[in-house]
Structures are given as structure tokens and as C-alpha cells.
Symmetry: C2
Subunit: 534 residues, 2 copies
């Protein structure tokens, strides 16, 4: 049921041309060609979507009011389509979700948690960061006036921690980063000056390399990484410089290269270099659901809440969706439209009878969902700032909690504070999800106390969301492999009769809001082309 007319073979795009250059001449030629056309690192987002020429009186039924559904509702209505949205929850946003004091959440199995946070405090159980290159998210934030503030991913004064290294004592990120960099620079400088790289770099380049290593690794004049003011200006001083009498600094002693390497803590050094965590990274002021609330202000009037889809049918005239009201109950109801954009997570959609062809059916069933748990912990005071001078950012550990994330707002706040006390994936996430919520919280406090002993006295209350127990997603995001993508991705995204799918699962940016938006914008662009190709 795929519609080949959507990809007319007669025209060749700039991108196709470049792909051909790349295949013929190798990637370097392709790179140069692209650079000369100004395309390198261009985002996939092409700016505000243009759905020109009217909607030909067509209607679209959208299933799910997460970002994919909400942005489609917003843009399709603007383009003239008749739009209705069915949403399982009583709010817009889906996984773009923020928990605040007084919020109730009931998970699969019936356990209900009431968030006990103080006013102004929150956690985002779902997405919590916006990279600078997630341009669709940023553009809608701008359009809707959602205020942004920096999300600190790497904090040089937070900790990296291994239960197996340094006697289990957390190390400041700063010290491991400086010492790893310094030792790498010293080792490579040694190899370079002993002419052991002759075949890899020219003599002119070797000379520059030595300069670079000294500069970057804080090496001394003999290319050594040693205790001195230069290295202490990276890793911190034994005694910091001060003012007045007795203020001279005392350098600190770098760790031995073997200690740094055997600790495994170098693993955390690449986090801030990853494009999704590079500066400048953002969060909305007040919680991620400020984006959801902004969408709700725009398209809330189109949404029927508490609507659980039980069946999706289509024929060559229309799509018919059967649903029940989860609050009011009563007999199943039906909604119809010319087209349907279904953004229901595949984990849920796979359990709903859906009249699509075998290829899309197979694709829907091909994608398992990631397990993940997030735990918010409220403490009586912001001890991480007051005692340890940690402002925002993350501590990393090899304990199951993986991460402690400090709030990136209200710095120096005098009241209580909320940490993200754990963010688990994989086996640990399954284990934590299997526990009752209170037990998940208790364990997160127990682990965290090994890094911050203050946990024990200062803990106030907590809340734990295990995504495999969230009734409307049954997991946190679609988990593609190269193999499942090759076999199923295009079939998942292609229009099937009058039905199209969208969401982070129908993107190459899984688990990110940007994936949901780009997936949906791509789908409605194709839908609009389809309507106009008739």
C-alpha cells in the first residue's frame, strides 16, 4: 500500500546528487562538494513547515496528543485541514511530562504515587534536555514563548564514582579529566619526541603536535604532567590561591597514570563531547512540560481526552477509529476522517487491531521498547550546593542509579531541593521497575548515600517512574537495531492506505522529542503532498 508517487524518480535533489558524488568519489570528495554547497552539519529541520495550497476539505484524525500528535494537529489545522485528536491521558504532552507536588500517578499493576514535592520543585520523568541542534523543538519553544535556561550536563565539580576504584571514594570530575588529559598528552609527547610517529605525521606536524599537547595537556617545559601551578589550574590546588598574607597557592599532586586508567572513570570524559550533550544544552524554565502546556494552549480544543483507542479500520473512503472513554465508561464510540495519523507508541499499538498491510504490521511488531526508570528525590536542603559547591550538572557512578542530577535552576535556593536520584537503563531498570515504588525510592537513597552521606539525614520524599509500567507507553522509547531498521523502518513510515504513523519510534532520533517532531512533520508533509497529488 506504499505510494511510490511520493518519491518521484524523475527529479534529483541536491542531497541525492551529493550521495552519488559520495558513492563515486569517496566520502572526502563528497565532503568537499557538500562544504562548497554549504550543507555540512545542516540540521534535518528545514525551518517552518509549508503546507501550501489548501486542504481540499480533507479531515485528519490524530491518535495521541504527545509531541508528534500535537505538532501535526497544530500545523494541519493551520493548513486548513479538519482535525480531531484522541488522547488516552487527560493532558497534552505524552512523555513530555513533569511531576510536581500533588500530582498523582497510577502505574500498571495499580500502585499509585502522589508527588510530595514542595511548590516550584519537579522532576521530568521523560525528556529533560534540549540539544542546541534539535532545531524543531527549539523553534516551537520560540514560537510559543517557552523560556529556556541552560541544562548543565558536565559539571567539573561534580563527581565520577566507581565502587571499584579509589576505595569507592567519589572523585571530582575535574581531577579525573585533568589527569587523564595530562597523562595522554605526556605519553603521546614522549612517543612523538622519540620519533615513533614518523609514519603517521610529518616532522612539521610533529612539531605542532608537541606544542598542542603541551598547551592542551598542561605539560611542563619537558612535556611532563607534574604537580605545579599549571596542572593545578586544571585539577584544582592543594591550597587555592587567596588574598592578603599567606595567600600563595600550593599545587596538588596528580594521580598516577595507572590509577587513572585502572579506575575506568575515563569513561565519563566523553559525555560532554557527544553532540546531544554538548554545550549549549537547554531545559525549559519550570519543567519540560512547559512545551506540552504550550501545545495544549494551541490545540487543546481539538483534543478528546481520556480516549482509549481499541480498533483502527480503513477502507478506500475513510478511516474509522473505535475508542472508549476511560473515565465516563459507556459503549465504544467511533471517530472517522479521510486520513489518520497514528502516534501511539508501537508497544501499545501492537496490541490494538489495526487494519494495515502486512509490511506495516510486521514493522509495528519489530520494535521492542527500552526499559528505563527515573527517580526524583526531595531533600530538606540543597546540601550539594551548601556543603559540596556542586551547582547543577551530573554525578556519574557504576552503581545501578547511574547518575545523580542536580537541579539547574534556583541556584542558592534556601528551601528544599529535588535531585534526579537515579536514571536506570537495561537490566537495572527492569529490576527497579519490578519493585514497589517506595522500595525503588528507598534503594536510590541507599545507593546515593554512598556518594552523598547527607542523603540519610536530609531525605524527605521521593517518586519513581518505571517506564515499562507506564500504561500508555509500556516502555520509554523504541529500541531499533541496524537489522530491524534495514528490514522495517521504511515500511513503518510509509503511508499505508489512509494511515500514517509518526513519533520518536518513526525517526532516527529515538527517545528524543526532536525525533517525534521531525517524524510528524515529515509525515504530514507527505500526507499533504498525497492530498495534492490526487
Amino acid at each position: 500500500m506504499n505510494d511510490p508517487s511520493l518519491n518521484p524518480a524523475g527529479s534529483i535533489s541536491r542531497r541525492d546528487l551529493l550521495a552519488m558524488i559520495g558513492l563515486v568519489a569517496g566520502s572526502s570528495a563528497s565532503y568537499r562538494a557538500m562544504a562548497s554547497m554549504g550543507l555540512v552539519n545542516e540540521s534535518t529541520y528545514k525551518g517552518p513547515i509549508k503546507l501550501d495550497g489548501g486542504a481540499k476539505n480533507k479531515s485528519v484524525l490524530i491518535l495521541g496528543a504527545g509531541h508528534a500528535g500535537a505538532v501535526a494537529a497544530f500545523e494541519l489545522r493551520k493548513a486548513g485541514y479538519k482535525v480531531q485528536v484522541l488522547e488516552y491521558n487527560d493532558r497534552v504532552g505524552g512523555r513530555c511530562w513533569t511531576l510536581r507536588g500533588g500530582d498523582e500517578y497510577t502505574e500498571l499493576g495499580g500502585a499509585t504515587q502522589t508527588c510530595g514535592f514542595d511548590p516550584g520543585l519537579y522532576i521530568n520523568p521523560g525528556p529533560w534536555r534540549i540539544p542546541y541542534h534539535h532545531r524543531a523543538v527549539l523553534e516551537y519553544c520560540k514560537l510559543f514563548g517557552v523560556q529556556l535556561e541552560p541544562f548543565v550536563q558536565v559539571n567539573y565539580n561534580a563527581y565520577v564514582h566507581s565502587t571499584q576504584a579509589f576505595g569507592g571514594k567519589p572523585q571530582r570530575y575535574r581531577e579525573i579529566a585533568a589527569d587523564f588529559t595530562g597523562h595522554v598528552a605526556e605519553l603521546l609527547a614522549k612517543a612523538t619526541s622519540q620519533n615513533q610517529l614518523n609514519q603517521a605525521v610529518s616532522p612539521e606536524d610533529a612539531e605542532k603536535l608537541l606544542q598542542a599537547l603541551r598547551d592542551w595537556g598542561a605539560l611542563d617545559k619537558d612535556y611532563r604532567y607534574t604537580a605545579n601551578v599549571g596542572t593545578s589550574e586544571r585539577r584544582g590546588y592543594a591550597k587555592s590561591p587567596g588574598g592578603g598574607i599567606g595567600a600563595a597557592p600550593v599545587p596538588s599532586q596528580p594521580m598516577a597514570v595507572g590509577d587513572v586508567l585502572q579506575s575506568g572513570l575515563w569513561h565519563h570524559m566523553s559525555i560532554g563531547q557527544q553532540i546531544e550533550f554538548q554545550t549549549t544544552l537547554f531545559q525549559p524554565v519550570g519543567g519540560m512540560d512547559m512545551i506540552a502546556k504550550a501545545f495544549q494552549r494551541q490545540i487543546g480544543d481539538l483534543v478528546r481526552y481520556n480516549s482509549k483507542v481499541t480498533r483502527i479500520d480503513q477502507n478506500d473512503k475513510k478511516v474509522t477509529v473505535t475508542y472508549v472513554d476511560t473515565k465516563a465508561g459507556g459503549a465504544p464510540m467511533q471517530a472517522t476522517a479521510d486520513y489518520c495519523l497514528c502516534t501511539i507508541p508501537l508497544s501499545v499499538l501492537g496490541q490494538i487491531p489495526t487494519q494495515v498491510g502486512p509490511k506495516m504490521q510486521a514493522a509495528i511488531r519489530a520494535v521492542p521498547y527500552e526499559a528505563s526508570v527515573k527517580i526524583g528525590l526531595q531533600f530538606k536542603r540543597r546540601f550539594w550546593e551548601q556543603d559540596e559547591h556542586i551547582y547543577g550538572g551530573n554525578t556519574y557512578t557504576d552503581m545501578p542509579i547511574r547518575i545523580i542530577s542536580y537541579p539547574n535552576s534556583n541556584y542558592h535556593g534556601s528551601g528544599k531541593g529535588v535531585l534526579l536520584g537515579g536514571y536506570m537503563f537495561g537490566p537495572n531498570a527492569y529490576e527497579f521497575t519490578s519493585l514497589p515504588p517506595a522500595e525503588r525510592v528507598r534503594k536510590a537513597v541507599e545507593y546515593g548515600a554512598k556518594i552523598h552521606p547527607q542523603y540519610t539525614a536530609e531525605f524527605d520524599n521521593g517518586i519513581a517512574v518505571g517506564w515499562h509500567r507506564v500504561p500508555w507507553t509500556l516502555g520509554c522509547a523504541g529500541a531499533w537495531t541496524d537489522e530491524t531498521r534495514a528490514a522495517h523502518y521504511d515500511n513503518l513510515c510509509a503511508m499505508d492506505g489512509r494511515i500514517m504513523l509518526a513519533g520518536e519510534h518513526a525517526s532516527y532520533i529515538p527517545a528524543w522529542q526532536e525525533g517525534a517532531l521531525l517524524s510528524s512533520l515529515n509525515a504530514i508533509e507527505r500526507l499533504h503532498q498525497h492530498v495534492h497529488s490526487r
Copy 2:
């Protein structure tokens, strides 16, 4: 006139003990001793100052209401001292100074500039960043309720630029950082796997090193830094991953190792690793002078403004300071007190007859002042965000402007925007200072347009502060060398009869607000001890 009683030789502090261990056993033993005492990386700031036991009815005359003078006035009054402050300007804050629309500034030579910025926009001609370990600044911000927001120093999407490399085309920080790291990792992995490091690391460590280099440098399974999804997740893609159909990413091609090394742009890779620029770095919401205004609210009633000190005398009973009113004119006036804390910059103090001993006289004359220029440029729109997706942070260049700094607040703002269009030191600063202000601005626009062509069409107005022409400092900060410190620093800081000096120049953290505060806190602590030792 130094008072040896302030450093009683009979007692030995923990720090002195550690210094002795260090001298006897070498720095490694000292480090271990310190670590076991919990002292490593402790800040010099020891928490709120304690000036207990009353002021014995003593009075202190403070010269200068910059941070050093203001904090002394605040703490000494609290301790019971009678305090008066003479200040040359009509405001508290000194170099902690923010220029906004409507502000007038007249420099040495008579040129007057009126700031033409739109409401809410500003530049800080002086300090503009607060490191996480500048605990005195942070503590007073907290005490006075000065709100803080992150200052982005390193922005992976901003540029690094050399007129001599890549045809003068700016490169994204992200690409140079990824490629430098990747090539360094590949070169060292090659040396390691060819057993060329045998003597530097053990076989067990070499194995860990290879793992670390792959992880950190984004090397492939053969320890190569090549074009693939892994390296593009650092440096960016040729085509970024998207959503829906046709969304597969296309990796970008790393630069050749020689191009990266010869560009010299690796020099900018260490900036974010320097302790003063490491995350989390702050700025006050609304401008650095929010700290000055907070001090002014606390101690403004103690300050006599527009008071130019012309003479400082002392005898064994009191200090007498002669000053003139720069606005009202009239005959010179005198103020007296039991003690004087003088925070006047040495560049100015050296020209004021001051009755201190030859050692302090020599110290005052020993410290030249740094040249520096900052230029604020207002543009008609925030094109760096709108066109180039640069949110906060800095672009670095080898042109005289050195830096373009993007605002770290009001992200996505729709009105005009102000950049720091240049921050010059050394010879370039002297050259720029010698130009009339309008010419400094014009040149900054001309240079900046080589990085942002939008400058030409979007420039609105600008203001330029050359610190050597600021009448009340004649330079931006004291410029110590190891030699001048050894000869003069202790003499500068030691009490001379009834006179003590304080300010960033009397600290080991020159040019930073923390230096001014710590210097002053140390001075008044010694003054208080002196009063109580009588």
C-alpha cells in the same frame, strides 16, 4: 612598620604543618597528608568571617567602594567598628560595573560615550563571570539574594577562527574539538599497540589505555578515527538524523590530522578545562553590577561619593585623609580614623602622597597595570541565534578582537541583542585604547564581520571601554610577576602603622572579584586581631 605580632610564631596551624611536611618529604607525602586531613582542593575562603569580641570603639576609614572596600565596610560595621567610606565615583562597585542604555561614561582625555542599548541589554566592562570555586563571591551573592544564571564559556556550536587556517573560514568548535581529540587518540593508540610505550605504562595499563582511547576519541574497532556515525556523534553529521522517510544520517568527514595541527585552533581546546572557566560558571541575572547594587543597599549610607583622595597621612594616633569633592568642588576636606583600609588601585595610589614606609612605597610602585579593552555591540536582531544557532558562549579568533561573546540570557529574544564584540589584552589593547571610542567600535565591527557577515547590515550601536583610560583605575588589574611578588607582595599586604591595603592587587587571584574580596577579608581579619592584641 610591619607588625610581627600578627603572625605569632608560637602556634602552628594545620597549613603550616602541611607546608613543613611538604618541604621535608616532597609534595607527594604532603598530598597524602593533606588528603587524609580532608584538605585537598579546599578553597581559601573559610566561610563567613568572624570578627568577634567587639571593636573597642575603633574607627576605620575605607578608601574606595569597590568590592574590597564594600565588603570591609559591611563586615567591620557588623563587628562594631565606626566606618566611613570615601569613593571617587557616584556609585558602589568600582570595576564591578555594568553599562546600560542611557549610561554616560567619560574617559581620560575627555571623550564621553552614551550607551545606546535597548532596555534590558547591557555589557559588563569589568568582571563578567563567577567560577564555582569563587566561594566568597558566591557566598555574598547568596547572602544578598543576587540571582545567578549559567555563563556559557565553551559553546560547541560557536566558532574557532584563524585568519591563517581553512582559508580564514571559521570552524565550529565541535569539529576541531572532535578531530583533535580523535587524532590524538588514534596516534597514541597506534604507539600503544605497537608496544612503544612499554616503559611508561604496564601491559595491564596499556590495555586499559587502548579501551580509554577508543571510548574517548570515538575510534573505530581498529582504533582509527574515521568518517562514521560514532565520530559524527561528536563532530556533527553531513546530514543529521531525522524523522520519517529519508531520515537516515550521513556521516561527515573528519579533517586530516595535519590540517588540525597546522591550524593552531587546538589552542582553544583547553579553555573549558581551566579551573576559572570550568562548568558550572555563573553570571548574575541582569548584569554583574547586581552585586555592586546589593553592596550599595547594605553600605551605601556609609559612603561619601565623588570624593577624590589627594593625600594620606598617619601618625601614632590616627590616619588623616585629604580629599576633594569632584562635583561640588571647594576646598580640600579631611577625614580621620583610627585605621585606614585603602583599596585604591596601585596605579592611582602611586600618584597620591601616602605616608607609609619605604617597603610599602616600593611595593605600590612595583606593580604595573594590565591594559584591556571591552567593546559592546548592539545589533538589530539576534542573528547568531536565528541564523547560526549559537546560544551563548564564545567564539575565539586570532584577530585583535580575540573573542565574540554571545549573551547568556534571554535566549530566543525577539528584539535587539548585544554582543561582547571584542576583549583585548596587551599590545592590541593599547592600540585600541589609543583610538577614539567610535573608531574602536568601528574596527570591532569590521573584524567581527569576517566571522559574522551579518554584522555589516545588522549593526546598531556600540560602546568601548579602554581600561587604561578609566580615570579611577588607569588599567584593568595589577600585573604581578613571580619576581615582583617575591620582592613586594608581602610588603604590600602587611599593615603599615595604621594603614592596610586591599583589593585584587593584594591577592593571588588578580583581576577577579574573588581576589578583591579575599584580600579585604584577610586584611580586616588581621586588623581586628591587631585591635585585640593591644
